[in-house]
């Protein structure tokens, strides 16, 4: 779970990491007031769960309260790169001497943590990593040892002497935060040295491990604040993994790998998937009914491809689930059903026996994808 910047900064402050003074604003007038409180100027930033705000117009330096109100109004009205914006963060403007970058991230290639620091702030960090990797210091942190003083020394050695002590304090506290709050990423871009010698975090990116949410009830509460599409919410509440896409073939499958694979096979057949929907291990009539409702609520869908490989899930159970679901949900478009694996023949026999007018039963994944593509073209 990616936290909004202002949430990340609340965590930073709770762990003693210095940040600028700031106020979360839900209306333009609040941004103007914040700017007045900060002496007439403010930085106004959209609060969204994506990066790239600086280049995308999501951050604006405002030299007057009015300018802050105008910026906030624009952001709240227009959103950011397709994301709804329901709040902005207005922060004091500070005199910056130099900009740096630091982060700590769970490194899946080693199974440990990797801490990064560079003195080259204010540039695109991915470009820097590609073109001048030697400018970025990298330190592996063993989870059983934690961040040690020599790690910190190695990292801050990248910075000018004046910033080392302040940056060391920040990176130590970042690791504490990461560890205690089960974050998989903490990133500060930029970390800055101010004219007065302080080192503070101008930005805060924190990603929390979803698997660890049960031990952090406060994060679970935060999750409620993120705007979510009502259809996605319905799927989520039913325990389904659903992501809306921009094609025309609705997809239902069991298992993330198989669903991803289904998207690919449909694409190769010349159509585009309207969604990603993984029902996981369950294939009850309830699950199937909810899945169909979710997908059929998308007006772009011209046909549905239900792709089930029976492993532990038995295909006869799936077949009955689909048929029962269709007594509750109106099939407004054709449904291509592929049942394979455990008890597949019996499942197909059940489907064939029901002779449902909207169900087309096809035995293999490739043929089913071709049929779904054909049907969606016909319906266009």
């Amino acid at each position: 779970m990616d936290l909004y910047e202002h949430m990340g900064k609340d965590l930073f402050r709770a762990h003693g990491i210095p940040t600028p003074a700031g106020r979360v604003c839900g209306a333009p007038q609040e941004a103007a007031e914040a700017a007045r409180a900060f002496g007439g100027s403010a930085v106004v930033k959209v609060q969204v769960q994506v990066g790239g705000r600086g280049k995308g117009g999501g951050v604006e330096l405002c030299r007057s309260p009015d300018a802050a109100a105008v910026a906030a109004e624009r952001m709240l009205r227009d959103g950011f790169m397709g994301h709804v914006v329901d709040r902005v963060l207005a922060e004091e403007l500070l005199p910056i001497a130099q900009e740096f970058y630091t982060s700590i991230v769970l490194d899946r290639s080693t199974g440990g943590y990797l801490a990064l620091m560079t003195a080259e702030g204010g540039v695109d960090i991915e470009t820097l990593a590609r073109e001048r990797p030697e400018t970025i210091r990298r330190v592996q942190v063993d989870p059983l040892l934690g961040l040690r003083s020599y790690h910190v020394r190695e990292l801050t050695g990248a910075l000018p002497v004046a910033a080392r002590e302040g940056a060391a304090d920040v990176v130590r506290k970042l690791f504490e935060l990461l560890w205690e709050r089960d974050a998989t990423l903490v990133e500060v871009n930029p970390l800055v040295l101010l004219d007065d010698g302080r080192v503070i975090a101008l930005d805060a990116k924190v990603t929390v491990d979803d698997n660890a949410l049960p031990r952090h009830p406060d994060f679970a509460a935060l999750a409620q604040e993120f705007p979510i599409d009502p259809v996605e919410k319905r799927a989520k509440d039913a325990g389904l993994q659903y992501v809306k896409l921009d094609g025309e073939v609705g997809i239902i499958g069991n298992g993330a790998g198989l669903v991803m694979s289904t998207l690919d096979v449909v694409a190769r057949a010349g159509a585009k998937a309207a969604n990603f929907l993984d029902i996981g291990g369950g294939a009850s009539a309830d699950t199937m009914a909810t899945s169909l409702e979710v997908i059929l609520s998308d007006p772009a869908v011209r046909c549905v491809f239900v792709n089930i490989f029976g492993g532990i899930t038995r295909c006869d159970v799936v077949a009955n689930g689909v048929l029962e679901a269709l007594t509750r949900v109106d099939a407004t478009v054709p449904i291509v059903l592929r049942l394979d694996g455990t008890n597949a023949e019996e499942g197909r026999r059940i489907i064939d026996g029901a002779r449902h007018p909207m169900i087309v039963s096809v035995p293999t994944m490739d043929e089913a994808a071709a049929e779904a593509a054909r049907l969606s073209r016909e319906a266009a």
Binding site: L106, E126, V243, F309, G341
Partner: protein, 290 residues
Amino acid sequence: MSVLVDADTKLLVQGMTGKEGTFHTLRNRAYGTDVVAGVTPGKGGQDIEGIPVFDTVAEAVHATGANTSMIFVGPRFAAEAILESADAGIGLVACITEGIAARDMAEVHAYLEGTATTLVGPNCPGVISPGLANVGIIPGEVCVPGRVGFVSRSGTLVYQIVYELTSRGIGQSTCIGMGGDPVHGIGFIESLAMFEGDPDTDLMIMTGEIGGDDEERAASFIAERVAKPVVAYIAGFEAPVGKRMGHAGAIVTGSSGTAAAKAEALEAVGVQVARTPSEVARLVADRLAG
């Protein structure tokens, strides 16, 4: 004719007395796996259809000589269950449990480095050596014994692709569901190395998916160390691009994590990359025929 599990496997199941645990334990036993013990704290002395239950792994190992563990305990306790098995000298642990916190797994991962314990998973379907032993939840019915080694990040794709192989009469030496969690036990490299060294494996299949750089690193390994033919499949060419906040991940791996990049990395070192699951079986059949 196999790696990791075989006729010498003596299986202990942590969390055997739970619903899932009992179901799959009995299923594995029915397949022919030598299931010798279950472990559930507080239930020592009971049994499940003749399989004795112990309070601790150490007691179970002492009493039964178990050498392999399968874990079904809940995500809050599963990481410690792995450590308990490692401390008790278990050589192979297959952790089926989903939802373990990454920090807990990072600790486990670091700890196992100094031990002789091999971990498969977590959040994985386990390992099967067809005809010899099944440790996990891969449906044994779809497998047949043979000479193709198979390792997969995705669980359902294991079932799907094994089914395609079996349908074409291509048997498997061992199928490994390594799991897709960020911090996991053995990966492509360790699996491919085992298959390369297994005299009863002629060809190996690896199926990857978007995210991370496991496949890219596997490609480098194949270039340097693998002589046997490898067929690959990558899922997720059309998958929705994940939202991404920080840059650190991309800096760390130096990889875009896309299916296209992974397929390209593998093809660059001479690995045939299938575009659909059925094409995997076709390429394998062609390769074995050639």
